[in-house]
């Protein structure tokens, strides 16, 4: 085997190795907002963070068959799943509320009854939403199900109501997947008074970070 006959092959291989060494450049995720809930305790500030563990995926979400909530939940699931590149979060709609990890109903969140973090978005004129996350006695474990309330302020069919219910459902499902605070930017779905219907790059970056940093809260077993 003459080494000279191998030259074309060696040149090509060397060229290939040189050309293929470059890596893709990762985007900055510095645009993320704070998603963790800071709780003041007797000893200082406690940072509560949560994401659904892979062993709990897909998260099962039940929606009341009212005011197009099932469709809004499907839309919300699609929006949030698309925020992730590596399958960090997935969810499915289920028909049996007894099996659900998250329950979405219409109506106003009940007063009291939970040892909870209540995350509300109240200022939209057409509808309002709230997410109740109940912790166990230790304060370290989330009880299932997380409850989401989306409440219309006008009669069904009123102008703007359906759009408000849709974006509020997406917003509240965002809380249920671990974004425990509100964005300060009105361009984000997680803004306290959401007005956009799709996730922004900031929402995506925030969700990604939430799912790549160890959570301080766990979720109770099924």
């Amino acid at each position: 085997m003459s080494p000279r006959r191998l030259f074309p092959l060696l040149y090509l291989a060397a060229g290939g190795v040189m050309l293929s060494c470059a890596d893709i450049a990762t985007p900055s995720r510095n645009n993320a907002y704070e998603w963790r809930r800071l709780v003041t305790t007797a000893t200082g500030v406690d940072t509560l963070s949560f994401h659904w563990p892979r062993s709990s995926l897909p998260v099962r979400i039940w929606a009341e068959d009212s005011l197009s909530l099932p469709a809004h939940v499907e839309h919300a699931i699609g929006e949030w799943e698309a925020a992730f590149l590596y399958g960090e979060f997935s969810a499915v709609a289920v028909s049996d509320s007894n099996e659900a990890d998250v329950i979405v109903t219409s109506g106003i969140a009940p007063e009291g009854g939970f040892s909870i973090s209540r995350l509300e978005s109240l200022r939209a004129p057409e509808c309002q939403g709230a997410t109740d996350i109940e912790l166990d006695a230790s304060g370290q474990e989330i009880r299932r199900p997380i409850r989401v309330y989306v409440n219309p302020r006008f009669a069904p069919g009123s102008p703007g109501l359906d759009a408000c219910m849709a974006l509020t459902t997406t917003h509240e499902v965002g809380h249920s997947l671990g974004i425990f605070t509100h964005s300060p930017d009105a361009g984000d779905i997680m803004f306290g008074d959401p007005i956009v219907s799709v996730l922004s790059p900031r929402d995506r970056s925030t969700a990604e970070l939430a799912y790549h940093i160890d959570a301080t809260l766990s979720v109770a077993g099924r």
Binding site: L9, L12, V17, A22, I24, R29, G87
Partner: protein, 199 residues
């Protein structure tokens, strides 16, 4: 002038017969290993990597000079792909690839030949999600390889092939998310099969 069309038909038929007599076909099965499709850093490094992929290759070549042949090769792979982060991995689904390569083949020794070529490589994910949320992608490909051939029967040879190729990977979804440049992906395929030689 009337004789020209029949002449052309006869000439074409004769040429095709000569070419057909010189065409060398081969079909191989094997596996393909690839470097990561994507390296990201969310908090820790995340790598997206294809698993070892079963591979089917079919090829044909024609002589273009006393010692050289031009060849066309089609390769198909299918495998799962996964994300790896901090020692943990999670399946992301299945991705199939198909490549078409036009190449040049030359001799190294009696049983060994080299080949090099360029072509196109397409990724077809089973689901439009994650990095493939906006669908698959097609990239330029360049590669080279060594073939070993040994006669089995008259006109049939066993063919063992080791091939290397590279391409620069990205997708519409990754670019929309702000990933710039492209990930260099190198692949090595080892295949074995048969070749029908008409030389």
């Amino acid at each position: 002038m009337r004789a020209l069309p029949p002449f052309l038909v006869l000439a074409f038929a004769a040429g095709a017969t000569v070419l057909q007599a010189q065409v060398d076909y081969n079909a191989r099965l094997g596996v393909t290993w690839a470097t990561p499709l994507l390296r990201d850093s969310v908090v820790e490094e995340v790598q997206v990597r294809q698993k070892l992929a079963p591979t089917l290759v079919v090829g044909a070549s024609l002589p273009i000079a006393p010692r050289y042949r031009a060849g066309l090769e089609v390769a198909l792979t299918t495998s799962g792909y996964q994300a790896e982060e901090g020692g943990a991995s999670s399946d992301l689904g299945t991705v199939r690839t198909g490549s078409v390569t036009l190449g040049l083949h030359g001799p190294i020794s009696t049983d060994f030949r080299w080949r090099a070529g360029t072509g196109l490589l397409s990724y077809w994910p089973s689901q439009d999600q994650g990095a493939f949320a906006r669908g698959g992608t097609t990239k330029f490909l360049a590669g080279a390889g060594i073939d070993y051939r040994r006669s089995l029967l008259p006109q049939w040879e066993m063919m063992v092939s080791l091939a290397y190729d590279f391409h620069r990977f990205t997708t519409d979804e990754l670019q929309a998310r702000g990933f710039s440049q492209r990930q260099g992906v190198q692949r090595i395929a080892a295949t074995i099969g048969v070749a029908r030689a008409r030389r």
